[in-house]
């Protein structure tokens, strides 16, 4: 159960995408800082390539070896995340050394400067942590908000209800196949 937002707090609704480079710490240990930073830069470049054509989408912040992205609509979030996953997969086949895991969730967030906070952000981070290398997990609220406008070329496979730490009710997830 999600508590209703405080009426006095400004909220914005959209999609939060978290990404994470799987095995970054071990990779950094093996190859050194310079090569590791190049990988981080490449991840940011991939992200910008995805969001540049989507109004209002942005990289909210870098989180160590991961990113937090914002998309103002569910359909932009889903399509953007799917494109990001494809771009990461293509990059991997072209020599990018690490796989990415991604999690996408939709709901209300509270702007805090350039940052966004709130349970939608927390859940998106948890969903991302459940993803495997090269996997994009999408929560049911994203798909509900997209409605019939979902890109039919996206092949989503049900994962089932998943218990997420700190959230009372299980969240239904689908994975991009």
């Amino acid at each position: 159960m999600t508590a209703p937002p405080d009426a006095a707090v400004e909220v914005t609704t959209g999609c939060v995408l978290f990404t994470d480079l799987v095995g970054f710490t071990e990779y950094n240990d093996l190859v050194g800082d310079q090569a590791a930073v190049e990988v981080l830069d490449r991840q940011v470049a991939l992200a910008h390539g995805v969001i540049e054509s989507r109004d209002g989408a942005r990289v909210v912040k870098e989180l160590g070896d991961g990113l937090m992205l914002w998309f103002p609509t569910a359909i932009d979030g889903l399509t953007g995340a799917a494109n990001f996953a494809r771009a990461a997969d293509d990059a991997r086949r072209s020599g990018f050394p690490l796989a990415m895991r991604m999690g996408l969730h939709y709901g209300e967030c509270v702007p805090r400067g350039d940052d966004l906070v709130g349970q939608t952000v927390n859940v998106a981070a948890r969903v991302s942590a459940l993803a495997g290398p090269g996997e994009l997990l999408v929560s049911e609220p994203v798909l509900e908000a997209c409605g019939p406008t979902i890109d039919t070329s996206l092949v989503l496979q049900p994962v089932g209800p998943v218990n997420v730490k700190g959230v009372t009710d299980p969240i239904w997830l689908q994975r991009l196949g």
Binding site: V22, G23, E26, Y27, L30, V31, R92, R93, S94, G95, F96, P97, A99, A129, L130, A131, G132, P133, G134, E135, P158, V159, G160, P161, V162, N163, K165
Partner: protein, 142 residues
């Protein structure tokens, strides 16, 4: 079937298509008639028999036995051991863990050694095995 846990163990005696996710609880699937997908953080993953496997963990060992379908396996620092029951494609990678792939005797294997190696399989090959590791030893036998 789908199962997920933070720290509890997941054991599937028999399933069709399996999706199991665990942070630290060990995951064991004895038999899956379909594809078995396991995502784990820091625990061991064992799949006894399946029609295909897609397994990943950060720090626990991955053991796949008697797999009769395509395999994807990803691990960061532990060992991946794959024993195939048939000639199917394998994509396995680690950062620092060892990889061992055993295919049925006589299987003609097209072996790829890098993620960016997309060389086509020569005529007569039964399957493609891509096994990559930055620092771990790789062994492919048939």
């Amino acid at each position: 079937m789908a199962a997920n846990t933070k720290s509890g163990r997941i054991e599937v005696e028999s399933g069709t298509t399996v999706d199991a996710r665990s942070q630290s609880g060990r995951v064991t699937v004895l038999r899956a008639t379909g594809v078995c997908r396991v995502r784990a953080e820091s625990t061991r993953v064992e799949i006894g028999a399946s029609a295909g496997a897609d397994a990943s963990t950060n720090s626990g060992r991955i053991t796949l036995e008697n797999v009769d379908g395509p395999v994807r396996a990803h691990c960061i620092s532990s060992r991946i051991e794959i024993e195939m029951a048939g000639a199917h494609d394998v994509d396995a990678d680690t950062v620092s863990g060892r990889i061992s792939v055993t295919l049925p005797a006589g299987t003609a294997v097209h072996r790829l050694t890098g993620k960016d190696d997309d060389s086509p399989a020569p005529a007569g090959c039964d399957c493609t095995v891509r096994a990559t590791s930055i620092s771990g030893r790789i062994q492919v036998e048939s």
